[in-house]
Amino acid sequence: MNFLTLDWKTIFPQLLKGTLTTLQLTAIAISLGFVVGILLTLGWLYGNKPIRIFCRGYVDLFRGTPLLLQLFIVYYGLPRYGIRFSPFVAAILGLGLNSAAYQAEYFRGAIQSISQGQMLAARSLGMSEFKAIIHIILPQALRIVIPAWSNELIYTLKYSSVAYMIGTTELMFAGKIIAAKNFRFFEVFLVVAFIYLIVVLIISHFLRMIEKRAKIPGLQMIS
């Protein structure tokens, strides 16, 4: 093992480009998962029966099948029916829709941990159910969910490496190409691992700061 003999001048820009793609992929996928996840949770908790069944089915389906399989279906399977995505978009869809299922579960846990009495109180003050969710329940739930959601963000960042299998040129893919070219798998993968670690550490630091600032003093949980 010798890091110095690697051609860093050409390797570094490739890894940097891969890292940026990984960050973009993660940011867009986690946002997509956030929006879909909230809709799924609300549908599950407050929707009518068909909506409830759909939301639960979605969560079961996406949590119950491997991410790699979902990516393969989106990228290699759908073109058979004329639906075609670039590897990057396919990875966003696969990761985002997968993450939505997990995020929905986190949101549901957070919402259910808020006292039922709050919804009743809001309704008795004349708020509609929708208004109560928007103004009373969600603002609290979104704060409670931050620690669990941080986990999901970090998972998504790391699992985005699976997208190399459908040819998304993210960090893992960049590492694989460099390693395949100079046969230096060990060194290159160590560097790739180090980059993932640094990014995750920075992200978790920021999330902890947000968590502290968003804390609700004296928050009343299930009673």
Partner: protein, 257 residues
Amino acid sequence: MGRRKVVSVLMVLVWGIVLTLGISCLSLAQEKPTYKVVSDISWPPFEMVDEQGNYVGFDLDVMRAIADLKGYNIEIKDLSFDSIIPAVAAGLADIGASGFTITEEREKQVDFSNSYWTSDQAIIIRADSGLNIATALSSGRKVGAQRGTTGADWIQTNLIDQGIKVELKLYETYPLAVLDLINGNLDAVIQDEPATRASLKKQESLSLAGIIITGEEFGFLVAEGDPKGILPKINQGMAELKASGEWEKLIAQYFGD
């Protein structure tokens, strides 16, 4: 636990260890050596899985025939193409048999057997695309190749490095690149000629745009310096297979019509 109990447990342990060591030494002395062969088994007709789930193909059958002739056992493992050389170089496997072109770059990492096959690069396109080999490899086209292959290198050094802006897309396996071509995400795929002909037979929607004469020689590979002395066995084995006519039979089996 009383003291006597501890002693007897220890005795049993010691005897157990002695016995296992003894038996494994004995069996080592008697058994033929087993070499681990690694191959990217998604590349017919050189390496593939048959309907019963067995690993077959020209490379692998040659490996088995040589092992029989030369008196050793082999254990075949499926590994992604670009991981084979690092695995053999690191001693995780003994022989790489996966249609490897002998190149200078690879020679720096591993040792090759005598050449056993000559191949050129082939370009395939969708039959209805209306492209030819010139238009399929012009600026703006998307060309697929397997990661770590000489085909991918050819596109890089002879097109991209020369300023022809084709987009080279790299895949884990060759069939995935072909699938993406069929799906319309690529304009062409480059791959060694024999494997290309095999996939053309199965896919009527594809056609051959042309052959790029590269005259590449395939070799089996072992770790640098051949620490286990496998290369002479492989080279002799190949010569014997050719002399006995077995070699021609395998060629007919996998490359005949």
